[in-house]
Amino acid sequence: MLQLTHLDRLEAESILILRETVAEADKPVMLYSIGKDSAVMLHLAKKAFYPAPLPFPLLHVDTTWKFRDMYALRDKVAADPSIQLIVYKNPEAETRGINPFDHGPLHTDMWKTEGLKQALDKYAFDAAFGGARRDEEKSRAKERIFSFRDRNHRWDPKRQRPELWSLYNVRKNRGESIRVFPLSNWTELDIWQYILREKIEIVPLYFAADRPTVERDGLVLMVDDERMRLNDGEAVVSRKIRFRTLGCYPLSGAIDSDAVTVEDIVAEMLASTTSERQGRAIDRDGGAASMEKKKQEGYF
């Protein structure tokens, strides 16, 4: 008899979640952030609905400040004729020229949180897949796989629906929406093992290479284009670096690394002494409970 490994089981559970959403929601969409978790989620979706094409579009809520390599992979993914990609940019953030240098936390709030709400409302999506995992952060550990949002996209941790067995209640009233997290039970290591096993293409920035950098506030930042502002006394230095998570390039901290294959990355990860979100400036503003607060306000 065939023995299923833990990756087989995680894959089967994610596929069940994807199919259940498509069967019961009116207009689902997949949030595509171009990172490794998005890559895995997209791969699982292709498997879930094979041989049919994806029964929903991808949505990239763009901040205009992602790495160039990320845009390149996004456009490559979108070149597949069976995939429909919607790119949404908050017009107000665009007009006001919101950027990570001048606007601090407002940058994330306007481009990502507000941009996402606007996009979901504009296209009337009632279910949105996201690649969040419960092992990432403490408030995520308690979030449901099917997480409800009221008309104003707010999350109420006290009013979550119980989730029993694999019986998901996808019903909702008009105007309400669901965030669905098919990767809830995956860990960072599971993601890498699956990328290796399934040969999933990811952004090259996850692998080490010599890149132009500056050091600021304890983070190693990459100078990805000419918009990067240098403070007095800062010099651009070439360093062999890679990224554990990707976001807006002026906000993503790199690590020094020699890892050039997925195997190297896993080996490095096992030896590592810091968690994945540690390089993210965004989690830090607002203290220990900052992610929970962001989520209540509608952040994914």
Partner: protein
């Protein structure tokens, strides 16, 4: 954690790890969070930055003085941290050399029974925490009962805080002896007791020098070898609920779902339930190529050799050992909502991928989860557990929960709020629904309908008291009779004096009132009649219940839309005045809600139309539907 020298070999090894899900039951006082924190720490799931945060937090909120408070690692939400309690289910992840683990961490107090039930629904093993100083408590018995109720086959009794009883063997033995008595009584088959100290790490990941008298495995060593549920599922008969029909073009029609039990190969003879049609598996299709075999736990897409009807909600099963179908059951129900169970009200019931309307009878009894006594009960409130009969509006494919969790476990969903209000476990179908097939009548509803030369229908008038329902319904009936139609008018007053004279005006009685009217109306349509009903029927759920009793298109909801001020101004029976004066309770529109129809077949605005005009409009609409 150190990087292994040969990363390739290590990865291959990782690939073959099994997955075990377990639940921890107990309260913060029992050292539960400390134990889980310790497991995470010892299996190197905690990074330096998290440890730094933990040290800072320990000084601020911790209860261990200058020592690290491992409990703070696992208490997630800020509200919980402030109150120093865990109030939800949290999931944690760690791995040993042999297995990956998913831990559902749930709170222990009785008011969190629903959280524990939720965590237990997916667990292979339950780890029960018993404080060595306190011994087996009421909550230990409650947790054991709930774990067994949810079908967990293996229990671990972790006797914690052994450091506080000087690692005394006699203290441990006393706890075991006590627990054994209880476990035998409720027939818990397999359980293992382990003495631990979460604070110091004794018997958590490895053995303990302080307890050399104990020769059994440490907790993690034990979790590495407990048998998995999933191996047992694969040995059973093939069952796959259809989740989604994959039909990209005319040439491909696949049925997607997760295999609940058994295994399947191309060529196998299968039956589609509830229709009972038989076919063969043609292919098992995946993006990585066709499979020769698929087993319980896999999400697959199969194609069938014949063009048979099959859609979401159907179940594909082994043709030679199919499960039963029925529409009445006995089940254990765990109520999870603050709004109590309303016997007779229609709820959505989801079992596998089947969604039907179900009504729950008043419970046969409620279980006192602390003493396991059976108590008489009229309903179930939050965290109430009882045994009750359930009726569904059509046959569902099911199995006993202990045999098959996928086809035996269900949730109930409130039709208005869409909240998940309960979960349940099916015991068996009631004999009357299995054995007595519906009487096949030689003179059927078609005959009656043809004889009368009309299509039967129910014109369901709904609206506030004094809206004009009866007035308009009376005129409609006269007009229909004048056209040679066969009709019958059921209204509140004539039904209340006979059929429903035992019912009052509480919410539960109002629901039963509407259910009976619905059943009578349905019988009358079987006789070929056009039935007019005039009831306030304020709740959407009940109107939907009646709609679901009737064949598609025969329920015509007529919303007599009169604003409250207008109805109150008319007040022909003086009822609003009494309700305002507090002499009438539960009066719709005053102290009880009216839920207006969202998409009625016919809406009559009585501020724009006279009763006569309204009746004409309804008769015209009915003519269109002949």
């Amino acid at each position: 954690m150190n990087a292994p020298a040969d990363i390739h070999a290590w990865l291959v090894d990782q690939e073959h790890k099994e997955l075990l899900r377990f639940i921890t039951c107990g309260s913060v006082d029992d050292g539960k969070s400390t134990l889980i924190g310790r497991l995470l720490y010892e299996t190197k799931q905690i990074f330096d930055d998290q440890l730094a945060a933990l040290e800072a937090d320990s000084k601020r909120h911790g209860t261990q003085g200058q020592k690290i408070d491992y409990a703070l690692l696992v208490d997630g939400l800020s509200a919980e941290r402030e109150q120093g309690i865990t109030i939800d289910v949290a999931y944690r992840f760690f791995a040993s050399e042999k297995r990956k683990f998913i831990v559902a961490d749930t709170p222990g107090h009785e008011q969190y029974t629903r959280n524990m039930v939720t965590g237990a629904s997916t667990a292979d093993v339950a780890v029960l925490l018993v404080d060595a100083r306190k011994g087996v408590l009421t909550q230990t018995r409650r947790h054991s009962y709930l774990a067994k109720l949810m079908g967990i086959r293996h229990l671990v009794v972790a006797v914690t805080k052994m450091d506080l009883v000087d690692y005394d063997q006699a203290a441990f033995e006393a706890v075991i002896a006590d627990y054994r008595q209880f476990a035998d009584k409720i027939e818990i088959g397999e359980w293992t007791a382990i003495p631990v100290s979460g604070l110091n790490g004794d018997n958590v990941v490895r053995g303990s020098d302080a307890m050399s008298w104990y020769s059994g495995p440490a907790l993690l060593e034990h979790l590495d070898v407990v048998p998995l549920n999933t191996s047992a599922d694969a040995e059973k008969s093939f069952r796959m609920p259809v989740q989604w029909v994959n039909r990209p073009n005319q040439n491909f029609r696949g049925f997607s779902g997760q295999i609940a039990s058994g295994s399947i190969s191309p060529g196998a003879e299968v039956r589609i339930l509830p229709s009972g049609r038989v076919s063969r598996i043609d292919r098992i299709v995946t993006a990585d190529g066709d499979l020769y075999e698929a087993v319980a736990g896999q999400s697959v897409t199969v194609t069938l050799a014949d063009e048979v009807d099959c859609s979401r909600g159907d179940v594909i099963v082994d043709a030679h050992s199919p499960p039963q179908s029925a529409d009445q059951f006995e089940a254990t129900i765990v109520w999870m909502s603050e709004d109590e169970l309303l016997p007779g009200r229609g709820y959505w019931m989801k079992v596998g991928t089947q969604v039907v309307t179900a009504t729950v009878q008043a419970p046969k009894y409620e279980v006192n989860v602390n003493t396991l006594e059976h108590l008489a009960a009229q309903t179930l409130g939050l965290n109430g557990i009882g045994v009750a009969e359930i009726a569904t509006d059509r046959d569902i494919v099911f199995e006993n929960y202990d045999e098959n969790k996928t086809l035996g476990g269900f949730i109930l969903i409130d039709k208005l709020s869409n909240a998940t209000v309960a979960c349940g476990m099916i015991h068996f179908a009631l004999r009357r629904s299995l054995n007595i097939h519906r009487q096949h009548l030689d003179v059927g509803r078609e005959t009656h309908s043809q004889l009368k030369g009309q299509r039967p229908a129910v014109l369901w008038f709904t609206g506030l008291s004094g809206a004009g329902k009866s007035t308009i319904a009376n005129i409609v009936e006269k007009k229909l009779v004048a056209r040679g139609r066969h009709t019958f008018l059921l209204d509140g007053d004539n039904v209340r004096h006979g059929l429903n004279r035992d019912l009052g005006f509480t919410e539960a009685d109002r629901i039963e009132n509407i259910r009976r009217v619905g059943e009578v109306a349905r019988l009358m349509t079987d006789a070929g009649l056009i039935v007019l009903t005039a009831f306030i029927s304020p709740f959407r759920a009940e109107r939907e219940m009646v709609r679901n009793m009737l064949p598609e298109g025969e329920f015509i909801e007529v919303f007599v839309d009169t604003p409250l001020e207008e109805a109150e101004r008319r007040d022909e029976k003086g009822l609003y005045a009494k309700a305002r004066a507090g002499e009438l309770q539960n009066f719709t529109g005053i102290d009880s809600p009216y839920e207006a129809p969202e998409a009625p077949e016919i809406r009559i605005d009585t501020t724009q139309l006279t009763a006569e005009q309204a009746a004409d409009a309804i008769v015209q609409e009915l003519d269109k539907r002949r």
